[in-house]
Symmetry: C2
Subunit: 157 residues, 2 copies
């Protein structure tokens, strides 16, 4: 949308302001990095990238900002089992960018996919309804992930 091109990636400003949070330089730069380098960034990845733009940043601020953004639903936090959390934007100005992950058990590579989400959604709807009833559980979110060997690791190994 044109508005976002003019004003940059600022769709989240209102989101923060609405909750009484301030728009600061560190937060802007962190969001910029999340926009530019999509997918599965660790706190340190982000820290390193942000320092190119804003060298005085502290790793603490990165963690605190990410925590805030996760709490606001702007960022998703994932754990792929390598001991550090990964973060990625949950949505953009265009709306949600829903996808799931393929995780290589050998090299740890993570591939996004967004095929089959429709049929997955059908299943989820059915399952959610049943589980809500049986366990009194109100489902708000789900995680689907496949583990296996990526193409490189199948041939290389």
């Amino acid at each position: 949308m044109a508005q976002h091109d003019f004003f940059g990636h600022m769709w989240w400003h209102g989101r923060l302001r609405g909750h009484g949070y301030r728009i600061t330089v560190p937060r802007q730069v962190i969001l910029d990095v999340l926009h530019s380098r999509e997918g599965h960034l660790s706190a340190e990845d982000i820290y390193i990238e942000v320092r190119k733009e804003y060298p005085q940043i502290g790793l603490t601020t990165v963690y605190r900002t990410l925590e805030l953004l996760v709490r606001m639903g702007i960022v998703f936090k994932f754990d792929f089992g390598d001991g550090r959390s990964r973060y990625e934007l949950s949505e953009g100005p265009e709306g949600f960018r829903h996808h799931h992950h393929l995780v290589c058990s050998v090299c740890g590579r993570v591939i996004d996919y967004s095929e089959y989400l429709d049929s997955e959604q059908q299943l989820l709807d059915k399952t959610e309804a049943g589980l809500s009833e049986k366990y009194g559980f109100k489902i708000t979110n789900h995680l689907i992930r496949f583990y296996g060997l990526c193409d490189r690791c199948q041939s290389g190994e």
Copy 2:
């Protein structure tokens, strides 16, 4: 099965021996605990429980044994986002005890469910075939999990 009642939970002995691993007291006690207290145990949970039977155990041994059992496929390792890994038996003498999880975002409670696995499996088969082809990814395992509010947290909060 009668055989397992007579010999105890020893179906995994052959599994370990077959790979050149030894059957030791710490390993037996840890497996016993995993059998008796099913579901979502942290390393420390297991450590505390094992000490009742075998006080001289070290936490290191618990971690090393769990790592071994995970590598053997005898135990699954999960991360529910609270900073510590959770472990549970992947199967018993009766065979696999496949299930998925409902995770309460408020209190962190984890509920097992094994309904809908058939329809989930149908979806997974379809998705797996497509993803294998498109990404050259050989899928060996999957993770399905729902997040939301458990019954207690809906009413209490």
